[in-house]
Symmetry: C2
Subunit: 404 residues, 2 copies
Amino acid sequence: MAHTVPSDLPLTRASVLAAHELIKPHIHLTPVQTNTTLSTLASTPQDPSALIGTPWEGATPAHPRISLFFKCENFQRIGAFKARGAFHALTRLIERLGIEEMRRKGVVTHSSGNHAQALALAARTFGVPAHIVMPSISTPSKIVGTQAQGAHVHFSGSTSEEREKVVESVVAQTGAVLVPPYDHEDIILGQGTMALEFTSQVEDILAQDKARGVREGKVGLDAVIAPCGGGGMLSGNAITLHGTGVRVFGAEPSFEGADDARRGVAAGARIPSVKTLTIADGLRTPLSPLTYSVISDPTYVHGLYAVTEKNIRDAMRLVLERMKCFVEPSAVVGLATVLYNEEFRRLVAREGGEGWNIGVVFSGGNTTIEAITSIFADVDAKKAGRQEGTVGKDGAREVENVAG
Amino acid sequence: MAHTVPSDLPLTRASVLAAHELIKPHIHLTPVQTNTTLSTLASTPQDPSALIGTPWEGATPAHPRISLFFKCENFQRIGAFKARGAFHALTRLIERLGIEEMRRKGVVTHSSGNHAQALALAARTFGVPAHIVMPSISTPSKIVGTQAQGAHVHFSGSTSEEREKVVESVVAQTGAVLVPPYDHEDIILGQGTMALEFTSQVEDILAQDKARGVREGKVGLDAVIAPCGGGGMLSGNAITLHGTGVRVFGAEPSFEGADDARRGVAAGARIPSVKTLTIADGLRTPLSPLTYSVISDPTYVHGLYAVTEKNIRDAMRLVLERMKCFVEPSAVVGLATVLYNEEFRRLVAREGGEGWNIGVVFSGGNTTIEAITSIFADVDAKKAGRQEGTVGKDGAREVENVAG
């Protein structure tokens, strides 16, 4: 990609270990939580009515045995895992170009979400100027929040072409280095550090539980399931866990074709653009060629699954009300898959033997009370619509999901 | 109180230590969290406009130095600290009357909130029948939730007289022992176990931070601030911390006189009844004679403070959106006091010297997305009203608060 500094690191677990050493002083070791209610729910067959209109209609719902472990990146700095990749990318730039040059040049990105905040934080930490290009229609709180991190905000139109143009002009004026949100090796390796912590934290929990006599069986994770938007975090975790025996799965929303990774891998060709307004707004982006190359390799990512908007809302309610954990909608697609995607549940029932320890990534918690209110108010309105006999859009979504 | 078995334990730290040994196998050691943003906010003077209409209008806002530590009892079993008292009360009954007799008699309570769920859980754990008397107008989800814990639900009218009558009849039929929500020594001692964990967890955090070179100064808490409804938890913590040098403060909503503890202690006489619809619905109850006797003793509780409904909402938004921690409105009155009660902030600025480490109790997390939506929707409606030039009820509340 133009304006980036290409990485010189191979996409290997060794590179992730090195990345972890670099960023450890700057990131939080986020907690891993367990929840008996949710593990019990995951280990209980779905109601047969949940399978109506799916390929499994009339079949006996799967009965997997699942213990859940949650990596709470909503407690990460800036409220999402993106801090990992941003600190790694910037630290590596400083190593290679020198701090003086980076302070002269600065960094730029065209994301307006969690990556922008993460890059702004990393840049401020090292006294490097950060330029964030965001559409002029962005919500004022997002603009103010980014400026509060000390970043320079540049406004653009909403299309990617218009944004790219503003990035060009920032680069022309300042010499800033582009740090993309996911399409870069250093970003991917940074996000992958999460899986290093996750596996070792779960091993600690299992060892403690065994010592206390409250758990027996396996000593570590059998699988990790993570949300997939641009695919930086999923491919990072897959690189970290490659060859370790821990399976890696990706989860996406199905709404309006947001499951581009799943569909692309199934068809054997990357889907280069996506246009969706899924409530999981962090997952509206397509894979890049780089993340596709990792995610489409079945020795790295063992499967991709999609969930409906209703699945996401149901999972989100459980995480908020039962786990008391504040997450954004994108964060719960992995849990939604484990609880509601019958294809995934049948896989675990079939291959899981005595049961699987599944690590679920909660990717972030950057949402607002108003956003949550509107997500759930929508449903109430649509429910009312259905009760009056109309066929809501929701029905169509659910059919779309099971096609996968 | 009729139908209870009187305790034979003195209200001392030694009794709390013994209580902790009894209940430890049944409760979670809830985490203590810190948050840089909130500590920074607490250490920043309020905007002078926040003092308009208060006794400090025109004065320079206080500039206390505060490090915050949060005891997250929203992660406790059943989602609130009440599990501590319920397990203690029942374990003690079993010790004294024997498990066979308790299984024959059962337990009964007339709370329909967190205490009912806690008692139902404790009773189920020991195979003891639990009878919960709740108003027939209770929300269906609360009724179903209590039944799901295996408890027998008995319906009554809404007044305390009507409830008491149903309790009478349950006791007459079953011989059940009444376990009240706060007016009992064993309950108070159970809730006080929280302060044992809190002080030692904060000492660990401070020692680790010191070892890592990221913090200097004190080695423990200077103060604990906790919500006060019936006063069981506040008095329990005060008993635990009595004589340790850690100051204890109580926080209440001011709306419609919900600050009965503060007003009663100021006037030198307990206020026996309260009628308020504060959004902090766990704090609508008055002190009992027993909890008043502890809380009105300044060597136990060093001060009581009240906060407005707006203060509670503002604090709740920070805890959800910034800390990513899902709490009920009652849980945040302590934080609201630290952030917005100028009288408390002036005390810390005056007496705090190099600054205070303040432990804030998050008492529980049992609320719903719908309840939060309605709490914040109310505000939006009232804000709209104010913008149109009407004087909302909110204004009156804020004036009421500063009288404290």
